[in-house]
Amino acid sequence: MKHKVATTINGHRHEHEVEPRLLLVHYIRDVVGLTGTHIGCDTSQCGACTILVDGKAIKSCTMFAVQSEGKSLTTIEGMAQDGKLHPLQQAFWDEHGLQCGYCTPGFIMAAAYLLSQNPNPTDDEIRQGLEGNLCRCTGYVNIVKSVRSAAATMGGAQAKPAAKSVAGRS
């Protein structure tokens, strides 16, 4: 038995008949055809499938498509506006915040939510704010730098790296 689901994705309305068990991430990728949202783990550990649902970061492998009924979704494809990269996208590019790029859409979406809640995070707050996402390539150094840089561009006061003693982090 199929259910109707109507959502707005990146400002466009979509309506489909889907199986109740269809995961939201499969709906976005396979039914709507937006393949920028990736799948990395199936158990909601890696965050590669992170999107915004009504402005909140959600791992789209943990929701059924039918649960998105009436909601507004933003995926990585909806971040650039008028052909111009979102400041987070630009910052990931400028700061070498990605290598293989597979986790990147999820990181950008999680970071977008983080900055919406905390426009001026410290490095530690960035690291904590992104702990729902896994990256295997970058060691996170340049991801933190990218988010810090985007925060500055987006109007948060200049985020600064934490001070260090000889023995390092407090």
């Binding site: 920028g36 597979y102 990147t104 690291r127 295997r136 996170y140 260090k164 023995a167």
Partner: protein, 793 residues
């Protein structure tokens, strides 16, 4: 004017705009009309006999197109999966491996059947309806017990569980007697799951009328996949096209071919439909090859004055249920055990042991992290044995003259180990930190400082060394440079970029060599239908030192032809023509110059010199004369909470030398990622199986702890540059350096922190659980009036 100073510049990556926009194209993003989905039914047991299988229900399930088992695939696939000699030319046992089990399963996750259905949900549903009757057999899990004569066998009917047993250099008892202090240590290398964020995946389409096969696959080496598929499916290479588009990380686990790499194309041929299979994370942790999985028994001796005398190494390598294509590569740990130091004698032996686990194969570093770990651990233990500062012991024994031939006949090309050590110590503030450590100890703080002076063999490799190791194909590299009439340039390479940024760095080389603006250079890789006939792929930190050189060499061939043509145009002798910053002119007349693009246009016109053909393009294969040898020193600073066993990594300093640098931003990125993976091994990650049943306990990322951003400090990087004399660019490799160096830097720091408790060695991962138990045992031992020796492992 053409840009001519691209080498060494921080150029932002040209692949990034699509990747940050969600426009990357990974295998699962491709589809073909009529695609059906494949689900693999796998053995739930580590070792069992298949008594019977009933697929009736599955065949009738909604959407199911076909169910295939061994007998179906045996009709379209021939041969067994490849195993290379690597560093062990003669294997004692190499169990033949067909991509799907017939009568016996030998590891959990081995394929026994596949289901093809219209949707992936239907394929998965039907897979659950296949009824397999198994008779469980004893699982061989323990490496030492596996070698006992009465051990059960990994494969029924085998005479033993030995894959190989090779002594590279025997002990020298006379030299061993020269040591004043001798230390023995068993060092464990736990199994690791490479865990690229994109799992494996295959999409295959077979055209019956044309007899052509097109395969999209997440692979580091598409040309090898084509070669193997041609053999297994009996299709000429010319009719197979393998495309590895954007690949979401490899780390060595996407070099060797896998069961599904055959099963999916074969299923496409059998059904006549395009077939897609995407690995789940659990399948990945179960069946994608693991890395490491070794036990080292090491003995080393030193004189009282700090002169290193001997090192003796025995490696027991858990090969898994079959030999991986490159499993014996990891034996190179035995050849590099002496590390960066002069020893009077080094002896080593490798033993490959079969177990009922998924095979091991290269994982970032492959044998070299193990070598560095054991060597640098022993250096610290020896330093402790003669009460010498570990930095001083390193400095005293560093190899300092190059080229240097080690005990195993490998020639280190260049290095300056002391300089990198000095820079790392300076960056961390070594003297001050030792003082802080002393003061802290008085207050019950357990700070530890760990050094790792690492070396690496990479840039595989010279044809003479690698052709025997692969069983025939020499690991050289190819490139094609094509110049179009307007001066635009297309470059095709046989390497594969899956995060390394070749799309950016290789055009930097071409821009400098041809003097053409960087933006006019298009880079292509990962499609066997394009470029030279064969490519060798990306692994072993080889892409720049071998592939980059092929690009450079092909570019120079193009310049040579253009110079001949320019001489003709100028009506001058060729030796009088100067090529400088993208322009040709006759010596003494730089004002009458012609741009490279003008000569390119002329190359497609009339009136060429006699005997010269039209066109301006070249193919080059580069065969390096030697391996390249990066090096460096890393320092980790930790604090151990003795109440909880928690290790807090407070600082991490990495000084690396990879020769000349094409793009410093990308080099730093490679170091960051590599360091993180080594730290992950030191503190977090471990593949765990049940010792008795062989069930995988770490089958999801809930249990297999890939660290998050919250587990790392910011890494502090330094660099020295010692060009390689092995190639004209003076480059080495940097892809694996961080991983090779970092696990032991962290573990040496943990051991250094715990030394006051009498703890000398800690194995990986140094989890709170493991560390707390060791502290607890050490304290109990010392309360009992002992000095903690019982607590040592």
């Amino acid at each position: 004017m053409a840009v001519t100073t691209m080498i060494g510049a921080k150029i932002h990556r040209r692949e990034d705009p699509r990747l940050v926009s969600g426009e990357g194209r990974y295998v699962d993003d491709f589809t073909r009309p009529g695609t059906i989905f494949l689900s693999v039914v796998r053995s739930p047991y580590a070792h069992a006999r298949i008594k019977s299988m009933d697929v009736t229900q599955a065949t009738k399930a909604p959407g199911v197109v076909a169910v295939y088992t061994h007998k179906d695939f045996a009709k379209v696939l021939s041969g067994t999966m490849p195993v290379t000699p690597s560093f062990v030319a003669e294997k004692k046992q190499n169990p033949p491996r067909f991509p799907i089990a017939d009568k016996e399963v030998v590891y959990q996750g081995e394929p026994v059947a596949v289901v093809l259905a219209e949707t992936k949900y239907q394929a998965s549903d039907a897979g659950n309806m296949i009824d397999v009757d198994y008779e469980q057999l004893p699982a061989v899990m323990d490496l030492e017990k596996a070698l006992e004569e009465n051990s059960p066998k990994v494969h029924s009917g085998a005479s033993d569980n030995v894959g190989w047993d090779l002594t590279y250099i025997p002990d020298d008892a006379a030299v061993m007697k020269e040591a004043d202090v001798v230390v023995k240590q068993r060092i464990l290398q736990q199994r690791l799951a490479p865990t690229s964020m994109e799992t494996r995946g295959v999409l295959a389409e077979y055209s019956k009328p044309d007899g052509t096969l097109t395969v999209w696959m997440s692979s580091q080496s598409p040309h090898f996949v084509r070669l193997f598929l041609a053999g297994a499916m009996g299709i000429p290479e010319t009719r197979i096209r393998v495309i590895s588009p954007d690949v979401g990380g490899g780390f060595g686990a996407k070099i060797s071919p896998y069961s599904e790499d055959w099963l999916v194309p074969a299923a496409a041929k059998l059904t006549g439909r395009p077939v897609k299979w995407i690995e789940s994370r659990t399948e990945s942790l179960q069946t994608t090859t693991h890395g490491r999985g070794q036990i080292f028994d090491v003995e080393a001796g030193v004189k009282k004055d700090g002169t290193l005398v001997f090192m003796k190494v025995t490696q027991y390598l858990d090969a898994g249920a079959y030999l991986g294509t490159f499993s014996a590569f990891q034996s190179c740990a035995c050849l590099l055990a002496g590390g960066a130091y002069n020893w009077k004698h080094v002896s080593s032996r490798t033993v490959g042991v079969l177990t009922n686990r998924v095979p091991t194969d290269p994982y970032r570093g492959a044998g070299r992290p193990e070598a560095t770990h054991l060597c640098e651990r022993m250096i610290d233990l020896l330093a402790d044995g003669i009460k010498m500062d570990p930095a001083a012991l390193r400095r005293k024994n560093f190899i300092s003259e190059f080229p240097h031939q080690n005990h195993f006949g490998l020639t280190f090309d260049s290095g300056n180990y002391e300089k990198a050590l000095a820079m790392a110590l300076e960056m961390v503030g070594y003297e001050k930190l030792r003082h802080e450590q002393e003061e802290g100890r008085k207050k019950g703080r357990y700070l530890g400082i760990g050094l790792s002076s690492w070396i690496e063999i990479c840039g595989f490799g010279p044809s003479a060394g690698t052709a025997p190791a692969t069983g025939g194909i020499a690991l050289v590299e190819s490139a094609q440079v094509r110049v179009f009439p307007t001066g635009s340039v297309a470059v095709y390479v046989g390497t594969h970029s899956h995060g390394q940024g070749h799309d950016t760095t290789f055009p930097q080389i071409v821009a400098d060599t041809l003097g053409v603006p960087y933006d006019m250079i298009e880079m292509r890789h990962g499609d066997t239908a394009e470029g030279p006939a064969f490519g060798y792929g990306t692994y072993g930190s080889r892409s720049l030192a071998v592939g980059g050189m092929a690009v450079h060499k092909a570019s120079k061939k193009v310049v040579d032809k253009a110079r001949k043509l320019a001489a003709h145009v100028f009506e001058a002798a060729e030796e009088d023509v100067v090529f400088d910053q993208g322009h040709f002119y006759v010596k003494g007349s730089p004002d009458k110059r012609k741009a490279f693009g003008e000569i390119a246009f002329a190359a497609y016109g009339a009136g060429l010199p006699e005997g010269m053909e039209q066109g301006l393009e070249a193919v080059a294969y580069f065969d390096p004369p030697n391996f390249v040898w990066p090096f460096g020193t890393h320092v980790a600073v930790v604090e151990v909470d003795t109440e909880t066993g928690d290790v807090d990594l407070k600082r991490y300093i990495a000084v690396d030398d990879c020769g000349n640098i094409i793009n410093p931003m990308i080099v730093d990125g490679q170091v960051h990622g590599g360091v993180a993976q080594g730290i992950a091994q030191a503190l977090y990650e471990e593949v765990v199986y049940d010792d008795e049943s062989g069930q995988l306990k770490t089958g999801s990322l809930v249990d297999y702890l890939v660290p998050t951003a919250n587990e790392f400090p910011e890494f502090e990087l330094g660099r020295t540059i010692t060009p390689s004399p092995t190639n004209e660019l003076g480059v080495k490799g940097i892809g694996e350096a961080g991983t090779i160096a970092s696990s032991v830097a962290v573990i040496n720091a943990v051991c250094d922190a715990l030394r006051p408790l009498g703890i000398k060695h800690v194995d990986m991962p140094a989890s709170p659980d493991r560390v707390w138990k060791m502290i607890h045992n050490a304290r109990n031992a010392s309360h009992d009036g002992h000095d903690g020796k019982e607590a040592r492992k």
